[in-house]
Symmetry: C2
Subunit: 374 residues, 2 copies
Amino acid sequence: MLQMPPAAPGMQEEDIDTPALVIDLDAFESNLDAMAALLAPTGAKLRAHAKTHKSPIIAKLQIARGAIGNCVQKVTEAEVLAWGGVSNILVSNEVVGAAKLARLCALSRIAQVSVCADDEGQVAAIEAAAADAGIRMTVLVEIDVGASRCGVAPGPEAVALATRIAESRHLIFGGLQAYHGSAQHKRTPGERRTLIGGAVEASRRTVEQLRQRGLDCPIVGGAGTGTFPFESTSGVYTEMQAGSYVFMDADYARNLDEAGAPVSTFQHALFVLSSVMSATRPGIAVLDAGHKAVAVDSGLPTVWQRPDLRYVSASDEHGKLDVASETAAPKVGEKLRLVPGHCDPTVDKFDWYVGVRKGRVECLWPVAARGGVS
Amino acid sequence: MLQMPPAAPGMQEEDIDTPALVIDLDAFESNLDAMAALLAPTGAKLRAHAKTHKSPIIAKLQIARGAIGNCVQKVTEAEVLAWGGVSNILVSNEVVGAAKLARLCALSRIAQVSVCADDEGQVAAIEAAAADAGIRMTVLVEIDVGASRCGVAPGPEAVALATRIAESRHLIFGGLQAYHGSAQHKRTPGERRTLIGGAVEASRRTVEQLRQRGLDCPIVGGAGTGTFPFESTSGVYTEMQAGSYVFMDADYARNLDEAGAPVSTFQHALFVLSSVMSATRPGIAVLDAGHKAVAVDSGLPTVWQRPDLRYVSASDEHGKLDVASETAAPKVGEKLRLVPGHCDPTVDKFDWYVGVRKGRVECLWPVAARGGVS
């Protein structure tokens, strides 16, 4: 069952039912513009990651500002984008299982779809699915540039898999997927630069070896909100897969810039609006948003513009606040904006975005691929 | 948008699309029976917590085995149970906000509904909503018996609030809500017994003071899967609010019994079925279930009946396995059952339960109140 929307256009923010997933539209649009402006001089393209927002509406706002399309992690997300009119979608991930591969191939009738592989058996499975569907599927080879998760080793192993793909009449070799996930949240720019420097060199070397083998490499894709300044100016990476920049979470806001200050390129645009539901003892207030309403995998949320309030523990349906000053203690019923520790899994807990501008509800957007784990 | 079901009745378990939320129906029914048998001689009633399963189907299976009804944490959950035919529902939590209180009062036309309060202003708000709806709402006073979250102090403060409720012509004083959440996962029975001993004494004293004030206390509710043996035999608590017992998660399985062995009253009945999606290096396999598919707030999942495999890290869409022996290393495409660290928030990530018996899909049940945060 879908949840009922917690608000209606025209309402004031303080009348939104809680917990609710709120987008500050001014901050959100400023983030879209900032990314477009930063990438314009680099020549690198934005293939914005839709795993963050799971919404074809937001995907199309990204494309309207210059993104060449989107990437996703799951076939369900690709379906929801394609059904919503997004025409260029990369599954930046391995897809395993005949049923899912058949769904992906079916989708390529209405959108330009591509997928990653890091295993010869999987290339054969994609080939069989494409042959069965009567289409040609574009496949990128995922290389491990330091995250030690998925991906074949850069160099000869990647070239061998790319050759296997290129030689199939049901497949097209699309390029390299070279995302360095664990570099994104290294706190200093020096750490991030060093790790991405290694990823760039591994990718450059692999592209060169592909060329020697006679294989063109149209795409080198990767980068996230934490590191895209390095990949986008590398001369090797062609597509930036940043996602979180649209919303900015508390964890990304802990990354530091060259001056040692928190990175301020993007603004917090995503909030979980929450109400105080209990306040029976001094120094503590209890919110109606626990970890079923705000993800805690990358740290607890912070309270927006209230340095006197600290979210100190989350249970399923309750969040406990430390209240520094009793004179400004929040009352039962008072609503507070939380900045999620991690935006992607927080978004995935809700059916609706409530778009707010200057305190007024402007729009409701479905989190269309919410729960799309497959 | 609802997700498509990942299976169909009659399928074999290995053909279920992943990640999927799987109930082992034999283990699940055994858990229902075990709880009924344990409570029968105590005189305490089961008011099973539906925050765990969010399903009127499972609620009615609990009621068929003797539960007097259910409790929930959120109005949305109460609605979904009532609309699904559950007739006795306690919101074992504070409900704040006029819109939510109006929904709760509306519900009392089709079910026996009650709610908790720990604040005089909130009692007035419930009273106003009940008057407006033309119904009488039953209100329990939540007392803090050690969890230091919601609840007024036991004793005179609780009696004062109960008196305020009892004196309203729109409200009925229903009893005490006395749940000790932080006692549930203390590992030794001695620790759990001591904490619940304190909760029992605080409740007993408050019931006695209510009686002196001329107030009958029909319900003393509380207890969870970790402690119900103590509350149910206390002679004070009347309603047990255990929820997790139906599924048993990895965290509850770390509680110890009197002999120092893991508590074995209930069996693991809930799993996230996951596929190996990448295995490019020795000693590591990557699953398609990360923390968007299995909750990690109470620890990482374990791999069912595979002591040689250890789930060591979760990112949004990936789970990394340490593989102890290369000879039995799982292959790409192989499916494994994960035992969630915490069942409640894991259930909340899925739209469908897949009920499996002896390897065959027997039923699909919607997680009807999935996402019901309000």
